[in-house]
Each structure stands twice: as C-alpha cells, then as structure tokens.
C-alpha cells in the first residue's frame, strides 16, 4: 500500500496534469514538471503523517509509493547548527547552517539520489546515468550499487581526485570527459533523447533512468523541510555478532 500523497506531475508552464508515470517533460509544451500532492490530506493530518528518521520520514511528500523501492544509505537528518561566532563575523543577527556534509557520500545529492534511484526501481529500470563534476556522480553511483543497478557516470575530467576516486569506487561504468563541462551536459541530454526514441522491443534491455526527472528534484526538497531534526529511532533487534574497529590508546584532554 502506498503512503505517498503524490497525485500528479503538473507542468509549470501550461498547467497540464499528467499521471505519475515515467516522464521527463510536459507532453503538450515540453515544460518542466512539478510533483503535486494531496494538500487536503496534508493539511488535515500534518506532522502525524511523518514517521521514522532521515529522508524517508518524509515519504508521504515524496513520489516513491512502494516502501520496497525506498533505497537508503542513511541520508537526511543532518544537523542544523546555530553559528553565533560566524554570525557576528558576517554581521548578521542569527545564522543557522544546515550542514549536509554528514550525508552518506558527503553531499546534499544523497537526498535526490535516494528518490532518483527509487524512481528507477519503481519504473523497472536496470541502469542509471548522470553527468557530474563529482558529487552527483558518486552519490548516484553509490545509491545505484545499493539498489543493485548498473550506473553510467559521465564525469568532468577536472573533478577533484577524491571525487574521481569516490566515483570510480562506487560506479560500474565511469566515463571521463575531456572538454567543456557544459558541452558534456548537452551531449548527455542528446543521448537521453536518443535512448527515449529507442524501439519498444530493445528498449527494456537498455532502459536508463536519466536523473533529471521530477522524482530527483523531489528528493532535494526535504533539505529545508527536514530542518527540525527528528530524534525518533527505529527499533532494532540486537545483532548476533558485532564487528568494530579496535585500537588501544587515543586522545586525552589536556587541562
């Protein structure tokens, strides 16, 4: 049973509503699509709809209906830090920083990757693909691996060495592009268009899930909506064995 309140994909240009199938743009005017949710239910039940911790706490306002498709590496629930010293240096009264570095691959992208890869599972795709300067690449690759999908990562050659290492470690197929990064984006867009026009018979075999879909943008949203960090925890049964790194010695405080 689905607890997602997503109802339609609505065009931001012409307002045409589409059903929640795989779709990258408005059928009528090629405009961007925005997810629309059951606002009445949201207003009626409010926070009671939210359960658990992390990104999937917000499952009712994300478009992945089947819990089996909700891939996770523990994203979301990152700290909202009050930064008084930096506020005074910058000359603002109060400064809050939502620090998304603690996400599983170290970036905000894990939010959108969880929903993008969830959407790939939902629509029956076997591979994902993204153009990246590093962060989205390692994130989509990590979540694809987690979901058992193949990933084709098109990376910018000038990406930092740690980002390239992270992508190489997590993806099945890393393609490094030499040239202007913006051109790579256009080329990739063209590849997506061409794949979409593949004949229905061979389409299943090479179905890719381009990560520019509305489902991906939806995952990015709870960065702001998850600001008050929930402390709720899932109940866990104790494991039969627990492996931990051990090293005697360590840090001491100096008085």
């Amino acid at each position: 049973m689905s607890d997602s309140l997503a109802q339609s994909l609505t065009c931001i240009e012409c307002g045409a509503a589409h059903s929640l199938t795989y779709r990258l743009e408005c059928e009528r005017c090629h405009g961007l699509l925005e997810l629309r949710y059951d606002i009445t239910r949201l207003q009626k039940d409010g926070p009671a709809l939210l359960q658990g911790a992390g990104l999937w706490r917000y499952a009712p306002v994300l478009p992945i209906g089947d819990p089996a498709h909700r891939v996770t590496l523990g994203e979301g629930g990152t700290p909202l830090l009050d930064c008084p010293r930096l506020a005074s240096e910058l000359g603002v009264r109060r400064l809050l920083l939502k620090f998304d570095g603690p996400n599983p691959t170290g970036t905000v992208k894990d939010r959108s990757s969880a929903t993008a890869v969830g959407a790939a599972l939902q629509f029956g795709y076997r591979a994902t693909s993204v153009v990246s300067s590093g962060n989205a690449g390692s994130s989509i690759a990590a979540y694809s691996a987690r979901a058992g999908l193949r990933s084709l990562i098109f990376a910018y050659e000038r990406a930092s060495a740690p980002k390239l290492l992270h992508m190489a470690a997590t993806t099945t197929d890393l393609v490094i592009y030499k040239g202007v990064y913006d051109d790579l984006i256009s080329i990739w867009d063209r590849l997506v268009e061409e794949a979409l026009r593949a004949t229905p018979t061979n389409r299943k075999a090479r179905k890719r899930s381009p990560t520019r879909s509305p489902s991906r943008r939806a995952g990015g949203r709870p960065t702001s909506s998850s600001l008050p960090s929930p402390s709720a925890r899932r109940s866990l049964r104790p494991p039969a064995a627990f492996a931990s790194c051990a090293r005697p010695g360590g840090s001491r405080a100096r008085r």
């Binding site: 809050l96 570095g101 970036t107």
Partner: protein, 144 residues
C-alpha cells in the same frame, strides 16, 4: 530565498541583477565545481521565476572569496565544507556588505558538501617535530 552562484558561472545571478532573461554563458573552471553550469536551461528560468515571484535575491562570489569562506568556516565553527558547499556563505557575506540583505534577520544557509573531497595544496609543514626535545620545545613555544 536567495540563490547563490560562483561569479564564473553566474547566469542566474546576472539575469536577476539585470532584470533580464537568462543568457547562456561560456564558462571556464570554478573552484565551486558543483556550480559549474553556464547554461542552466529551463531549470534556470524556473529558479529566476521563483526568485522574482517570491521576492528573493540572487548573488555570486568570486573563487577567492569562496576559498576564504571555506577556511573561515572551518576555523570559526569547525565545519569543514567544500567550495561548492560554502558558496552560499560567500554570497551571504557579499549581500550583507552590499546592504541588499537585512542583517537583523535570522539567516539559514545550506552547506551542501563536505570538505573531505576538496583538492588543495598540502598544508604547511611548520610545526613539525621529530623527537621528544623538539616536540617539547614546539609545544612550550606555542603555549607561551
């Protein structure tokens, strides 16, 4: 809502400032790697529309300001974030300095990435010790 960009890839901020539509830019490298888009396409138009309808702001910061902000955030608050992640703060500093943003408000900025994937020059080797005496001397000097 405030949109932050690197000056080297500021198609949205520029259009916002000039009150025009977005003109795609030919861009080079910026330390804010994740912001390196010269042609934000339909999504850029959408952002611009949301900023204008919602009475938001857009701004940009130069690469050296972004790197200085990265060092400051680490030292002042202990948050080690990447250049892409701190572009929001570098832009915030500019908007406050330009009096485009009211400093009496509470401001919330998203720091979108860890600094652990940053590529940079290795740190200075001053403060290196090699045995008990040199270590002791160094610590005594620092604590003096």
């Amino acid at each position: 809502m405030v949109a932050a960009q690197a000056t080297r890839a500021n198609a949205v901020a520029r259009a916002f400032r000039d009150g025009t539509a977005i003109t795609p830019l030919k861009i080079g490298y910026t330390v804010a790697e994740g912001l390196a888009a010269g042609n934000p396409g339909k999504k850029g138009d959408w952002v611009l529309r949301l900023l204008r309808e919602g009475k938001g702001l857009a701004g940009d910061a130069e690469d050296d300001e972004i790197l200085a902000t990265q060092r400051k955030l680490a030292r002042v608050e202990g948050i080690w974030a990447g250049p892409t992640g701190v572009a929001t703060l570098a832009v915030l500093a500019r908007l406050v300095a330009q009096k485009l943003l009211d400093p009496a408000q509470t401001v919330c900025a998203i720091i979108s990435e860890t600094g652990l994937k940053t590529e940079a020059e290795p740190p200075s080797r001053t403060g290196t010790a090699f045995d008990h005496d040199s270590l002791r001397r160094l610590v005594t000097e620092r604590l003096a």
